[in-house]
């Protein structure tokens, strides 16, 4: 081949960015486009559980083994995004599997698992209820999907990929049996775009709706080789990675202005997840899919120290996953037609609690911060045996060269899915380079001791500093090194002004999107849900932006926070919501506004008729002219 193929990847979820990274590492020219922010689709709304595969060990050995391989691989290449907590599977009466049968099946797949009596399980996880008679200790882990996606995107750009967010595909042109061009529209006002729902981002509030699905087995349109390579290749010095760059300057190196643009890539990979059928439809392909939605709830506290899954076989499960200071419980599973319209109602939270409080009784007293809904998608379910991923080359399926669609897969195996896609694309162009994503670590490592040594420099208390470093990793010093005081703007999540300003510089560009700042910093994601701090974050937009833009951005941020809260408001969280309402309506006077525009002739609000104050001013003032009233 005498030229470098230009591949366009559609979709900025964890799978799309991993495909972009893999192809970029292999030397191809890559442009990734995402209609919203990175992780705005399913990736940003999941439970963040990295499966061990133990749950499928009995039903599907190859799947389980691959799942565990990928679990190990991610723990090595992205250990700043993964927390190796271990996990517990608690079989229920409805399960066919028992503690013993699960452990036996795990042994057959080389997944380390240990049978525990109820008593032993409670000694490992004191939150388990007295009714739990036995459990299996498995190597589950938690993962921060946003941080993982951003790190993957950052790596992709380091290898030359271009990543363009807020860029939506509006047309895919087909001529003479081949895809010839893609029209994209850059969104000048991302803040105004209606989102399917609450995009929770990758920090504590994130979760994975892969709750009831096995980690995928490759049975798609393409035969794919087994997972080879395995873990390794991480230099010893790289294994103690404290954090990652929570912001991603390189993630969108160019920021085109509003308008449409026609790109002519050599190949297109459609990795738009739950939107894959819609996007395939732009090229005229019909693409049946399975879609369901899953409700998840964020708790204010962290009731468990490790993920606890109720229900130990493939099928509906309920899981409590600890993240940072919170936990995410999930997930329901209901069919849904429109991935842009996922919201259910308050009953979903009740359903989750009813099932889980038997195993984790403390959940009954947990304060619930938010409810949100994620979407699962994949190829149509045939025999009801669980979801698979499918890699469909439209040349084979539709007789049209130049585009492959990938659907399904989970967070745990996303890297493997990306590898298969990249193998296929490379094969199409006769490129024989091997995949390296299983051994090249993601960016974000730094010597932890260096960071510790300088924390006092910034006058931050240890918890604030620690939380900042968790988010920023190697960029902590650069971000915190500002002139003047650096007060905390969001107390609950320990976010300082410097970090908000950094996220604003990095995230918004010409458009204003405080939800983007929220996702990057975790600000407004604590117990007050922005009621006490959203206005402080918005104030950082001044004076760069117009007043009405700042006001709209604040309203958008609070609206997004409210949307997630309102389905599970009782107890302490309703009390908090009531105080937020009082503060904004009364103390800040934000509920009603004067009509000022019509009074421009008179210069502003008409004051006549209102009390203009007591007659005398400061009593001790000298009687010089400018100290006097009027």
């Amino acid at each position: 081949m005498g030229y470098t193929p230009h591949v366009m990847v559609l979709g900025g979820g964890v799978t799309g960015t991993a495909i972009a990274r893999d192809l970029a590492i292999r030397g191809l020219d890559v442009t990734l486009v995402e209609r919203g922010r990175l992780t705005d689709g399913a990736t940003g709304r999941m439970q963040g559980l990295l499966y061990s595969g133990a749950r499928y060990a009995d039903a599907d050995q190859p799947v389980a083994a691959k799942c565990y391989d990928e679990n190990r691989t991610l723990a090595e290449i992205a250990d700043h995004c993964v927390e190796e907590t271990g996990g517990l599977l608690v079989p229920t009466d409805a399960d066919e599997a028992t503690v013993e049968s699960i452990v036996e099946a795990c042994e057959d797949c080389d997944i380390p698992a240990e049978a525990l009596t109820g008593e032993k399980a409670r000694s490992m996880e004191p939150a388990l209820g007295e009714g739990v008679e036995g459990a299996v200790r498995v190597p589950d882990a938690t993962v921060d999907p946003f941080r993982l996606t951003v790190a993957t995107a950052k790596s992709a750009t380091e290898f030359g990929a271009e990543i363009r967010t807020h860029t939506e595909v509006t047309d895919i042109h087909v001529e003479d049996g081949a895809v010839t061009a893609v029209t994209v529209e850059h969104d000048p006002e991302p803040a105004g775009r209606p989102r399917p729902e609450d995009s929770e981002g990758a920090t504590a509030d994130s979760t994975s709706p892969d709750g009831d699905d096995p980690d995928t087995v490759p049975d798609g349109g393409k035969q794919v080789p087994g997972a080879s390579g395995g873990p390794g290749a991480v230099p010893p010095g790289e294994t103690d990675v404290p954090g990652m760059p929570g912001t991603t300057g390189e993630e969108r190196p160019s920021r085109p202005t509003a308008g449409t643009e026609r790109l002519e890539p050599d190949y297109v990979v459609n990795a738009t997840g739950a939107w894959a059928d819609e996007v395939a439809g732009l090229a005229g392909f019909s693409f049946p899919m399975h879609r369901s939605r899953g409700a998840m709830v964020v708790t204010e506290d962290q009731p468990v120290g490790m993920p606890v899954s109720l229900g130990a076989t493939p099928g509906p499960v309920r899981t409590v996953v600890p993240h940072g200071q919170h936990a995410v419980i999930g997930a329901t599973n209901d069919p849904v037609a429109d991935p842009d319209n996922l919201d259910g109602d308050g009953d979903d939270a009740d359903r989750l609690l009813v099932d889980l409080t038997g195993v984790v009784p403390a959940l009954d007293d947990s304060r619930l911060l938010r409810t949100f809904w994620g979407v699962r998608s994949g190829p149509p379910r045939g025999d009801g045996e669980g979801r698979r991923f499918a890699l469909v080359d439209h040349a084979d399926r539709d007789g049209c060269w130049g585009m492959t669609t990938v659907v399904g897969g989970t967070l745990t195996i996303h890297r493997l899915v990306a590898e298969r896609v990249a193998d296929h694309v490379c094969g199409t162009f006769g490129i024989s380079r091997e995949c390296k994503t299983d051994e090249l670590p993601l960016p974000g490592s730094e010597d932890q001791e260096v960071l510790d040594a300088v924390m006092d420099t910034f006058g931050l208390s240890s918890p604030v500093y620690d939380r900042t470093r968790e988010r920023l990793g190697s960029r902590t010093l650069e971000v915190l090194d500002t002139d003047g005081p650096n007060p905390v703007l969001c107390e609950a999540e320990s976010v300082t002004r410097a970090e908000v300003r950094d996220a604003l510089d990095d995230a918004t560009g010409e458009a204003v999107d405080l939800n983007d700042v929220r996702i990057r910093t975790s600000a407004t994601m604590g117990s007050c849900q922005g009621g006490r701090c959203a206005h402080r974050i918005a104030a950082e937009l001044h004076p760069e932006y117009e007043l009405d833009v700042i006001e709209d951005a604040l309203d958008d941020l609070l609206a997004e926070r409210w949307k997630g809260q309102r389905h599970a408001l009782w107890g302490d969280q309703l009390a908090q919501a009531a105080r937020n309402y009082d503060f904004h309506a009364s103390t800040l006077g934000r509920k009603y506004r004067f009509e000022v525009a019509e009074r421009e002739d008179s210069g502003g609000i008409a004051l006549d008729g209102f009390d203009d104050g007591p007659v005398t001013g400061g009593a001790d003032q000298p009687t010089v002219g400018w100290g006097m009233r009027r």
Binding site: D345, G346, S461, G484, P487, V488, R532, H535, R536, A539, H542, P543, L547, L558, R561, W562, R566, W570, G571, L574, A575, A577, A578, N580, Y581, D582, F583, H584, T587, L588, G589, R590, K591, Y592, R593, F594, E595, S602, G604, I605, A606, L607, G609, F610, D611, D612, G613, P614, G617, G618, A619, D620, Q621, P622, V624, W626, G627, M628, R629, R630
Partner: protein
């Protein structure tokens, strides 16, 4: 021992009820049971009367009046138009006036003379109506058309002076300027507002050189032109706030005022300090750090309440107080006087019936600042402020309720929070003492 009047709850309405009872019947034994100062941390310090005519509560959420509304200039004129179950309607206009007069006397607040609403500037640069206000707000009224300089402190993040000034300058018919200064105050893990107030109260030397008040004034002087008044975030002292303000006024030769912030609100805490000393003068017995754990009843009357708390080690201390008359003043949903579980909003202290939407999904509106049904939930009362059960019968012969625990009004929306607390606290305290 048996008290004549036992008031449960430590918000404005509880303090006013206890003070009213003690002042109306000087021979009565009055006791106030208070959990903590927490509710005053949320008080902006001013007392609204009625800022906006209420919207139709029956269709709250659907019938949101929208964000653009003109506030009332003459709140008293609007009182007679309120629905019959509004707390002001229960009290009657004359009672409203009597209550505000007493409160003006107790608090030293201004604003009753004019009978008109005042406009005040908020920390985010909005203009909003209120009625009574402390000295620290008096010279800063937005409805007073003098030019204004707003001063922010870098470390006080609730108040961005530049943004607030820009918004106010756009809305008001006079100039509003701004400057933001940095003070060498080590905040550490403390609440910045409390730390700043303490530094200014004590006039601590900053950087080992200037006393704090002079240091603040010195940093502003260059930015002060001919503005006759200067607004600060409300952190200008707690115990010595008058001294802080008059020192700054003397040095800067301009009026100094404050813009209230979120919790911990210094104007709110100054108010509770003031009311506390009034309670002391009036001979009211006060128990702090306690919550009601049990209520003993006999023949449709409250005989006694048991409270727990008061001990740093936990809830070991228990005490029972008998009384002739009781006043329930524990606050609304935000304060814990009303408490929701997954099914119902309840009144946990006395178990009174709470009027509310039947379905939990209807407690909240679609938008954060839409009219919120939960804000309107609360106790229904008769004209003597006795809570009524579901059949409109008084729950107890000798229990009255006041303040945010009452339903029938979204006081945050109509800007009547402080007024309803003062008026209903007054009415309940007076009726309890007269009984």
């Amino acid at each position: 021992m048996t008290d004549d009047v036992v008031v449960v709850g430590g918000g404005i309405e509880g303090y006013v009820a206890a003070l009213t009872a003690a002042l109306e019947e000087p021979v009565a034994d009055v006791r106030l049971l208070v959990r903590d100062d927490g509710r005053f941390c949320h008080e902006p310090g001013w007392i609204d009367l009625l800022g906006y005519p209420p919207t139709d509560g029956d269709s709250a959420g659907d019938d949101d009046a929208g964000p653009v509304r003109e506030p009332l200039q003459e709140p008293f004129a609007a009182l007679s138009d309120l629905p019959a179950d509004h707390p002001y309607s229960r009290a009657g206009i004359e009672e409203v006036r009597r209550a505000l007069s007493l409160f003006e006397e107790l608090s030293g607040y201004e604003g009753l003379d004019s009978d008109a609403n005042a406009l005040v500037a908020t920390a985010t640069g909005e203009v909003t109506p209120t009625f009574l206000y402390p000295d620290s707000v008096a010279s800063g009224l937005a409805s007073d058309d003098r030019e204004t300089l707003l001063v922010g402190f870098e470390q006080i993040v609730d108040f961005d002076a530049a943004l607030a000034a820009a918004k106010l300058d756009e809305q008001l018919p006079y100039d509003v300027g701004h400057t933001t200064i940095e003070l060498d105050v080590e905040v550490g893990g403390a609440e910045p507002a409390e730390r700043f107030a303490a530094v200014l109260d004590d006039n601590e030397e900053l950087d080992g050189e200037l006393p704090a008040r002079r240091a603040v004034a010195g940093k502003i002087r260059n930015d002060l032109d001919i503005e006759p008044r200067i607004g600060f975030p409300a952190v200008l002292g707690r115990s010595a706030a008058d001294g802080v303000r008059s020192d700054l006024e003397a040095i800067l030769q301009a009026d100094v005022f404050e813009v209230p912030l979120g919790p911990p609100s210094m104007p709110g805490l100054r108010l509770v300090d003031r009311l506390w000393s009034e309670l002391d003068d009036a001979g009211v017995a006060v128990e702090t750090g306690v919550t009601v754990t049990d209520v003993e009843t006999a023949d449709d009357r409250i005989a006694s309440v048991e409270v727990a708390g008061g001990s740093a080690e936990g809830d070991d201390l228990r005490e029972r107080y008998e009384g002739e008359q009781f006043v329930l003043a524990t606050g609304g949903v935000g304060a814990g006087g009303l408490r929701a579980d997954r099914e119902r909003i309840r009144e946990p202290a006395f178990g009174c019936y709470v009027a509310q939407p039947a379905d939990r999904a209807d407690w909240v509106a679609d938008g954060f600042l839409d009219d919120q049904p939960f804000a309107r939930a609360g106790l229904a009362v008769d004209d003597e402020f006795r809570p009524l059960d579901a059949d409109d019968t008084p729950e107890f012969e000798n229990l009255r309720a006041a303040g945010r625990v009452l339903g029938g009004a979204d006081v945050a929306a109509e800007q009547s929070t402080g007024g309803v607390a003062v008026v209903t606290g007054y009415a309940a305290g007076r009726l309890a003492a007269e009984w």
